[in-house]
């Protein structure tokens, strides 16, 4: 099962990197977000705020890549006719699907590094990391947790033929509910508890606290917990939705 998982990761990262359009998005988005963070906050006077905003922008990219990458990949699999073959494999479907979303998370982790690099290069955003060890763990941990949130949402993409449109629709609500787009303090109070159940909230906090100082390991613990919960929910959902798709004949577009 582990071998199938890593083989899937390899194949989907490879699939992703041979697509010039996807690759250009990965390169351009971090520059775009780093620029927005800089000009929006006019952060020359507050380097910490600027770094925090850059990290937030990077986590936004990570989620965008996961949700769009996995929904796009699933729609692509349906067009290629390989979705049926993944379902027809003797492996649990979650093992075949998880590499797709986590591969997107891994590409998203790269975008975080790229955002920081561009921020430092173009806008003098400080790159001082308070706890390099915590930072080195927080980035892949966040990628994994966000990838697993992607897996959970991808379960619904299995039954909907227009998976990519659904993915696009899910991008902003999570950005907003996790406080990445606008601070949670300006949103209604009921949004706060929702953010606790979303991996980007804890992923961002873990990376930010590792970089600027704070309870990064606690945040990472929440990421780990959510990863397990997401996987369990996704595995159940995938079984149910797979049967749903087998009953409704939606695995193939033809």
């Amino acid at each position: 099962m582990t071998r199938a998982f890593f083989s899937g990761m390899r194949i989907h990262v490879k699939q992703f990197t041979v697509n010039a359009f996807d690759l250009s998005a990965v390169v351009l988005w971090p520059i775009l977000y780093a620029s927005i963070a800089y000009y929006l906050l006019d952060g020359k006077n507050d380097p910490e705020l600027l770094l925090s905003a850059s990290l937030g922008a990077a986590v936004m990219t990570m989620w965008a890549l996961v949700v769009l990458g996995s929904s796009g990949a699933l729609e692509n699999q349906r067009w290629l006719g390989t979705l049926e073959l993944l379902v027809a494999a003797p492996m649990p479907f979650a093992v075949a699907l998880a590499p797709i979303t986590i591969a997107s998370g891994v590409v998203g982790a790269y975008s975080l590094v790229a955002t920081l690099a561009w921020g430092a290069l173009l806008f003098d955003v400080p790159l001082s990391i308070e706890s390099p060890l915590a930072f080195a763990v927080a980035v892949p941990m966040s990628a994994l947790a966000i990838g697993m949130l992607g897996l959970m949402t991808a379960a619904t993409f299995v039954i909907y033929r227009a998976a990519f449109h659904l993915g696009v629709a899910m991008q902003y609500p999570v950005w907003i509910a996790t406080g990445l787009l606008v601070p949670l303090s300006v949103l209604p109070a009921w949004v706060g508890p929702i953010s606790w159940f979303l991996a980007p909230t804890w992923g961002f906090r873990a990376i930010r606290d590792a970089a600027l100082g704070g309870p990064a390991w606690t945040d990472m613990g929440m990421c780990a917990l959510l990863t397990v919960v997401y996987f369990a929910v996704a595995a159940v959902c995938l079984r149910v939705f797979e049967n749903f798709a087998r009953a409704r004949a939606t695995l193939r577009l033809t």
Binding site: R3, A4, S7, G8, R10, I11, K14, Q15, V18, N19, W79, L80, G81, T82, E84, L85, L86, V87, A88, A89, P90, M91, P92, A96, N243, R246, A247, A249, L251
Partner: protein
């Protein structure tokens, strides 16, 4: 010995809805209670026109669709309820361009599917090499699949379907869209697998393919099996008939109806071959109908007129037409 595949009274209904406000439900009965049995080591053909229910049957047996009612067993297992167990013991190959990661190499594709189908690491490399050799792709495995011809893709499909050495192989119209040489090469590969003892369920709408490859055939039309048996058995259904083939140019429906009404005519079918329409008229052996047919065609432009023995294709056309 228990059959490798056993299907009894299998039905499948598709429901689709359209319209935003006044939802309209369309119901299509793809399978209307089919029953069939395939013995271990047998190459069984499911023959029928487009939309007859061939692919639906295969998808139910390969666990990709749930039946509406009836029962199916593959190697004694229920594909609806024991999907995981069935999946490890069968291979599924479908025709056409799809089912492969185009931007990756053939080797990437095979390695990935080998891992998904639990091929042991120690055997993986040798198994892939063996299959590439079997399907004639040795030396081309490092090229991207998008550069492959349709025939090469189809042979790669076969290799993918055989990675885990399945006991039963399902081939859904594997030669569709292939050029004659590619189709012949693929048929040779299928014949080789059959000779090696593999149980194969093949769907096709090419009569000569079913005739050349299959031990037994079931003809399916409109979701029902209308005949089954060996190719000789099926030919036997029209053995007491003679076929008159008349090449015409521009004969209208009224002319065809007049031919149907000729005394002694059992059935009339029309095939289009380039600019010509070839009218195939069946009649009992000994019925002298040629002159009567030519009288009805008086005024039409005619080409060759041939009287011949019936083929499996004639049997098939008759079975499907009368379904």
């Amino acid at each position: 010995m228990a059959p490798a595949i056993a299907v009894k009274d299998l039905t499948r209904t598709y429901r689709s809805r359209s319209g935003a406000f006044r939802r309209k439900t369309t119901v299509v009965e793809a399978l209307r209670g089919i029953s069939l049995s395939v013995e271990p080591g047998e190459l069984f053909g499911l023959l029928g026109p487009n939309g007859a229910g061939k692919t639906t049957t295969i998808k139910i047996l390969t666990t990709l669709l749930l039946p509406t009612s009836g029962s199916a067993r593959v190697l004694g297992l229920d594909p609806a309820r024991q999907a995981r167990d069935v999946r490890g013991r069968i291979g599924y190959v479908f025709g056409g361009d799809r089912g492969l990661y185009d931007r990756l190499t053939a080797l990437d594709n095979l390695r990935y599917f080998a891992d998904l189908y639990r091929v042991p690491v120690a055997k993986k490399r040798a198994r892939i090499a063996e299959l590439l050799e079997l399907v004639g792709l040795t030396g081309r495995e490092g090229e991207r699949v998008e550069t492959y011809s349709r025939g090469m893709r189809q042979r790669l499909h076969i290799a993918r379907g055989l990675l885990h050495d399945p006991e039963v192989l399902f081939l859904d119209e594997p030669t569709i869209g292939l050029d004659p040489i590619g189709a012949r090469e693929l048929r040779d590969t299928i014949a080789g697998l059959h000779a090696g003892g593999k149980t194969i369920l093949l769907t096709t709408h090419y009569m000569y393919e079913a005739d050349a490859l299959c031990d037994r055939i079931a003809v399916i039309a409109a979701g029902t099996i209308v005949a089954s048996g060996t190719p000789s058995d099926l030919k036997g259904t029209v053995a007491n008939q003679t076929i008159v083939e008349i090449e015409t140019f521009g004969a209208g429906d009224d002319v065809i109806e007049r031919l149907r009404a000729v005394r002694g005519v059992s059935a009339v079918a029309v095939e289009t071959r380039e600019q010509a329409q070839v009218v195939l008229v069946q009649s009992p052996v000994g019925a002298e109908i040629v002159q009567a047919l030519l009288r009805e065609l008086d005024g039409s432009t005619l080409g060759k007129v041939v009287t011949r023995e019936p083929t499996l294709e004639d049997a098939y056309v008759e079975l499907v037409r009368s379904a």
